[in-house]
């Protein structure tokens, strides 16, 4: 069953703490994404990864970094979290990069992060 798995699903952290969000997929998809979703702002792309150690900034990368050491895992790291990083974070994956009729990314269930 094709699935993108995110851990944890819910997380509460204090301002200044480090945060690690993890994402996995078992479909050997090349491309993986991290988005955040805020009311009224839609889904905003933080980072995109085209394969192991091949990552590219999205539209809002400031305050975040990513790591992809295995094709099936893509991590989002917040060093010294800020209250304005409270959000719902979605990971997604797709088979290849680029436009194509079979390229629609598959999303995970999301991680709800609260930074107090």
């Amino acid at each position: 069953d094709m699935k993108v798995t995110q851990m944890p699903r819910y997380l509460i952290k204090r301002m200044g703490e480090n945060v690690l969000l993890e994402c996995g997929q078992d479909m050997s998809h090349e491309t993986m994404y991290w988005y955040r979703q805020d009311p009224g702002l839609g889904l905003q792309l933080i980072y995109i990864s085209y394969d192991v150690d091949s990552n590219s900034e999205g539209d809002i990368p400031k305050g975040y970094r990513v790591s992809r050491k295995k094709r099936e895992h893509f991590s989002l790291i917040l060093d010294s979290a800020k209250t304005n990083q409270t959000s719902v974070y979605f990971c997604a994956s797709s088979l290849y990069r680029g436009g194509g009729n079979n390229q629609a990314p598959l999303f995970g269930e999301g991680t709800r992060l609260s930074v107090l």
Binding site: L45, I48, S56, Y96, G98, G99, N101, A104, F107, G110
Partner: protein, 112 residues
């Protein structure tokens, strides 16, 4: 860069009435486009994707036609159902980047 404009905010409909959610995009090339649907506290899920030919994709009663001349990919359904209440996103793909650009989304609320 690529961008997308959707029907703003909230669309409220009575069950049984037709649905039309607008989507126009700005791109320097002809991208593929997707419609995603997100129900409350769930992940976004693919609803429809555009084709390069004149085929009109359909799913769950929804359909959308890509009009390159007007850069539009409007989502339509002939008769709204209560279960259609959700957040809808239109998203074009970036040229060779795979970057999917989402708009702010449109909330559809269908009432009895």
């Amino acid at each position: 860069g690529d961008s997308v404009t959707q029907t703003e905010g909230l669309v409220t409909l009575t069950e049984g009435l037709p649905v039309m959610l607008n989507c126009t995009y700005q791109s320097t090339y002809s991208p593929f486009l997707f419609w995603y649907v997100q129900h409350l506290n769930e992940a976004p899920k693919l609803l429809l994707k555009s084709f390069t030919d004149n085929k009109r994709p359909e799913h769950q009663g929804f359909h959308a036609t890509l009009h390159k001349s007007s850069s539009s990919f409007h989502l339509q359904k002939s008769s709204a159902q209560l279960s259609d209440s959700a957040l809808y996103y239109c998203a074009p793909t970036g040229a060779n980047t795979g970057k999917l650009t989402f708009g702010h989304g449109t909330i559809l609320r269908v009432h009895p």
